[in-house]
Every structure is written in structure tokens, then in C-alpha cells.
Amino acid sequence: MPHDPQPARFWKRNQMKIAPYAFLAPGAVMFLIYVLIPIVQSIWISFQDWDGLGPKTWVGLANYVELMDDDTFYVALKNNLLWLGLYLLAIPMGLAAALFLNQNVWGIRLYKSLFFFPFVISQVVVGLMFTWFYAPDFGLFSQLIKWLTGSEVAILADERYVTYGIIAAGLWPQTAYCMILYLTGLNNLNFEQIEAARMDNARGWRLLRHVILPQLAPATFIAMVVTVIGALRSFDLVSIMTAGGPYGSSQVLSYFMYEQALSEYGYRMGYGAAIAVVLFLIMMVFITLFIMRMIAQERNR
């Protein structure tokens, strides 16, 4: 069979143009199958009434209308905002821990590992530890409160405190994560700039604010991204510690979605998908902000 030189020549001529797309293709295909298509499917399902097995019925916006009247939805939304606000405390706390640990004393590597430890262990374990920590009768925290005030408080059984209790548990590993981000940033500080600042009479807090923090801006940005996303998708601690209780007072959107769509409370796939879409839209606000900032930085470079 005579060899046709045409395809070979086409490849040679366009190799440089095709190669980037060829390398991009596997990731793009995965992203399409596991991220983009499910998003579209979720939006589609949110317009249906479906138990997950039987036939789907088109109900239009009925799921969303019901959601707008659902008290649990507002509790979950309020709790998510609380998570968002308080979870951000992990950033200054992580920075403080990093500044504290960024010194040369004997055994500092061990202390750093110990501080980082909560991030390594599973969220389930963190949840269990804090559940025991708060437990009435034998929990350390309860004992402390009892010793201080004389009366016991069951944090996880009290709707006034329960969400704060879970967020406190979440802050522990998240602070460790932010600390690691900042420790890496502190390793790459420009020391001549700090010395110049010392000559310029900048000390302590002013040195931190005017010279060190600006140099840590990339770490702060990443810490911000992972903390905001982490707060919005908080699920595991709620699931382990309270399952949304008492009386749904510690609900968050992702757990509410799971409860409606997949748990014993009923298999309302359409309603769950509607919750998922709302959560997705909230996240998109932040993701868009982050991406806009990243693009702006790329341009500045």
C-alpha cells in the first residue's frame, strides 16, 4: 500500500498548535464528565419531582417556591453565613500561630508538626473529639464551665450555642491549615526589605502591617479561598456532631440538601437539587470574585 504523506505533514505543520490542546484534553474531559455535566443535570433535576428511582415529573419552579417558604432553609442559610463569618477567624489565628512558630528554638519542628496535626486527622475524628469535649458530665469543656459558673451547659444540645460549638471544632483544623500557608510565606520573606524597614523606624505591629503582611498577600489570598469555600461546604462536622439538631437548629445548606435528597427523611431528589443549585449560586459569587482577582494579578505581572 503506498504511504500517504499528507497526514504526517499535517501533524508536522500543526504540532505546536495541537500539542497544548492534546495535553489539556484528558483533564478537560474529566472536568466535563464529573463537574460540568452533573451541574447541568442538578439544575435539570431541580425542576422535577423525583424519588431517585421512579419516573420524573416536571414541576417547573415548584421546588424553589417551596424552598422560599421552608423555615429550615432560612435556618441553614443563616447558619452558613455564621460559618462564613466566624470561619474567617482561622486566617488571623493561623497567622498568629505562624508568627509564633517562625523562630529558631530547639525542637521547633516538633512544635510545628503538633500545631499542624489537627489538619492531618479526619474531620470525623475532630468532630468526635469535640463532641466528647463538650459532652455533659464527663466532657472537659463542660467541667470547665461548671467550675467557672456552677451550672452545666450542654453546648450541642442547646440551640443557642450549637452552631458556635461546631464552628469552634471546625476552626481547629482550619487554623492549622492557614498556619501552614503562612509558615511557607514567612520562609520566603525578603529580609533586606525588613532591614530597610527597621532602618525606617518600623517596628512590631507597624512592621507587620506595612512590610510583612503585604509580602504575605499571596498566602492570605489562598487562605481566604480555602476558608470561604470550606465554610460554605461545611458538612462533615454537622453530620458527625449533631446531624443538624437539635430540631434542625444547626442545619447548613449542604447537610439540608443531603437530608432531603438522600436520607431516611425521604428521597426528594428534585428538592435536594434545588437546594444544591442555591448553594452553587452562593459559591459562584465568591468563586467569581476570586477568579477576577487572579486574572487582575496575571495582567499586572
Binding site: 525578603n190 533586606e192 526589605q193 532591614e195 530597610a196 524597614a197 527597621r198 532602618m199 525606617d200 523606624n201 518600623a202 517596628r203 507597624r206 506595612h210 512590610v211 503585604p214 498577600a217
Partner: protein
């Protein structure tokens, strides 16, 4: 305005001694240059004057006040760093004004003094830019502006020109010298480039391994180096060193050069000894004029236009450099007669100390 005085200043890092006892007086308004090979401690010494490094032992006085234990911002000194160390997130104006802001000056005062410093350094059109948008020379000027604006009594420069290309370096060298004349402040300048030292300094301090080898004016060091180290460090191309036999003779010194030629030098010597004779390339004569003439073979000729630099081999194989006329015709392999004028010959004993300086006066 202030003089800087160091007495027996030492610096140790653990068991390692970096600065081994420095005594130095720098007069008010003087331009003093620290030179030395890398690792000699010149930057450490500057940083000790700045207050960025602790002084392990000894005392530092600036303007008559003891500054040994005073913080860097309270010494009345300003420093220009090798990498400029500008704050990348601040504009040029903010960079220059930062020190004043940190010392609590009001906004109007900061703006006025920033504008004055910018005018002096021709930075006015750049005040709103960030350091990332500036060229190397402009960044250097901003770094100097940041020092000027604080009205320091002493300016410290840590190899400020080493990140610039050759032509810019010559230009900035001139600008710093002009600045010194305009401000009249005391300046201490660290460099490993002896051309910078020779062209800018009122006083050069040659350092080696944490000790002062010699202090003096550029010409003093050029003509009367105290030892082999200074003789070899100051001057470019560097001084030729030739092993010779020296002995007392007729109220002077007689040395035998490679190949047997004999040269009569001034000075006195107790006993015959092996010594090192030093002669700068610009004082050796390629045309054979001198008090002793040595035959030599050309190894290499560098034609620089204004002059020709010959590297020639003497009878015992020693290679020396000789500066000659730009139109000198000799080529590698040719023979030459090298003249040694006695008045330009330095003589160093076995310890490397100068016995005789060929300062061209005799």
C-alpha cells in the same frame, strides 16, 4: 553632621570571629570606602554601624554619642542596600516617605520632603509608579531618595552599584559623588570594586579577613601600600610581584632580578634576604628605559587602543604585565626589553610587609 568612630569593634558568630578588632576614625563629611575581597567582613562592619548586626565587643560612636547599643533607626544613619530593598507594594513616593511616616511626621511635611528628594534625584515623573515598573538605575535612585529624605548624618551604602550594568555604574558613581558634594554628609561605602574606591573615596579602608590592612587616601594606598595585600588589591591591572635576592649595598639595597640584572634601590637593609619586588604595569617600560633592563618574551598582547597591555615572561618564567603605547608593534613570541625604574619599585620582606615604597619621589 557627624564623625564616626570605632574602637576595638569585634563581631563573633558563635565561635567564629568575623570582625577581629577594628579601630577607625571617619571624619565629618568624609567619603569613606571599605574595600576588600568577598568574605573580608566589610559588609558586616557596615551593618554593625547601621545597627542591623550587634556589636559583640568594642564601642561605636557617631557624632560623639555612644551608639553601640542603640537601635538602627535612632542612630541618625540611613542605608542603601545592594538589592535596593524597595517595598514592592508601595509607589515611589510612598517608598521615599515611609521612614518619615514611621517617625510620625505629618502629611504636609512628608509630601514636602519627598518632593524635595525626588527633585534632587530627578524622580519627579516617577513618583506614582511602583518599583516593578522602574529600571535598575531608577530603583537605585529611589533607594537613595529613601535615604536622603530622612536627613541622616551618615549615609551607608552596601555595594549599591553591583546590580547595574557597566555604563550605568559609571553614571551612578558620578551621581553619588555629586550627592556627597551637595549634601556634605558623612558617607560610608562598601564595594569590592577598587575602581569605585579609587574614584569616589576621600579615605579608603582596605579590609582582609576581619582586619584593617591599611587606611589612607586613594593615592596614598596606590603609592605607599603597607603590605603585599594592599599592593595587590589597589590598582588595575594589579601590581607585578617578582621574587628577588636583596642585600645591603653601599648605603642602599641591591637586588638581583631574574636573569641576573642588578638594580640599586634606596633604603636600608640589615642583612641579605629573599624578598618580593613590586612594580606596577604602568611603571614598567616596554621600550627598555629604566635603571635595570630585563629581556622578556611576549606571551599575550591586549590592544586597548589607548594603550597596549603586554603579558611577558621573564628569564625565570615569572609572568609580568607591562603597559605600553597603544601602537606598540610587538606580537606574541617576540622579544622585548623591559625597563625597571628604581624609583617605582616596591620591596616587601618575607612577611609581606613593605620595606621600601616606590612612590616615584626618589
Amino acid at each position: 553632621m557627624a564623625e564616626v568612630s570605632l574602637s576595638n569593634v569585634k563581631k563573633d558568630f558563635g565561635a567564629i570571629s568575623i570582625i577581629k578588632g577594628i579601630d577607625l576614625e571617619i571624619k565629618d563629611g568624609e567619603f569613606c570606602v571599605f574595600v576588600g575581597p568577598s568574605g573580608c567582613g566589610k559588609s558586616t562592619l557596615l551593618r554593625m554601624i547601621a545597627g542591623l548586626e550587634d556589636i559583640s565587643q568594642g564601642a561605636l560612636r557617631i557624632g560623639g554619642r555612644d551608639m553601640t547599643r542603640v537601635g538602627p533607626s535612632d542612630r541618625g544613619v540611613a542605608m542603601v542596600f545592594q538589592s535596593y530593598a524597595l517595598y514592592p507594594h508601595m509607589t515611589v513616593g510612598e517608598n521615599i516617605g515611609f521612614g518619615l511616616r514611621m517617625t510620625g511626621h505629618d502629611k504636609a511635611e512628608i509630601a514636602k520632603r519627598t518632593a524635595a528628594a525626588a527633585k534632587m534625584l530627578q524622580l519627579e515623573p516617577l513618583l506614582a509608579r511602583k518599583p516593578g515598573q522602574l529600571s535598575g538605575g531608577q530603583r537605585q535612585r529611589v533607594a537613595i531618595g529613601r535615604a536622603i529624605v530622612r536627613n541622616p548624618e551618615v549615609f551607608l551604602f552596601d555595594e549599591p552599584l553591583s546590580n547595574l550594568d557597566a555604563s550605568l555604574r559609571v553614571q551612578m558613581r558620578g551621581e553619588i559623588s555629586r550627592l556627597h558634594q551637595d549634601l556634605g554628609a558623612t558617607m560610608i561605602y562598601v564595594t569590592h570594586d577598587q575602581v569605585e574606591a579609587m574614584t569616589m573615596a576621600d579615605k579608603i579602608v582596605v579590609l582582609s579577613a576581619g582586619r584593617i590592612e591599611q587606611v589612607g587616601s586613594p593615592l596614598e594606598l596606590y603609592h605607599r601600600p603597607k603590605n603585599l595585600f594592599v599592593a595587590g588589591f589597589i590598582g588595575s591591572p594589579k601590581m607585578n610581584f617578582i621574587a628577588v635576592d636583596a642585600r645591603p649595598h653601599d648605603g642602599g639595597i641591591e637586588v638581583t632580578l631574574p636573569g641576573g640584572a642588578v638594580l640599586q634601590l634606596a633604603g636600608s637593609l640589615a642583612a641579605a634576604a629573599k624578598m618580593t619586588l613590586g612594580l606596577r604595569p604602568e611603571h614598567a617600560s616596554a621600550t627598555g628605559a629604566g635603571d635595570a633592563v630585563l629581556p622578556a618574551k611576549v606571551h599575550l598582547a591586549e590592544h586597548l587602543g589607548s594603550e597596549t597591555l603586554f603579558f611577558v615572561g621573564l628569564a625565570d618564567g615569572t609572568e609580568i604585565a607591562v603597559k605600553a603605547d597603544g601602537l606598540a608593534p610587538e606580537r606574541p613570541g617576540d622579544s622585548m626589553q623591559i625597563g625597571f625604574p628604581a624609583r617605582a619599585c616596591h620591596l616587601f620582606n618575607a612577611d609581606g610587609q613593605a620595606v621600601l615604597n616606590g612612590d616615584l619621589t626618589r
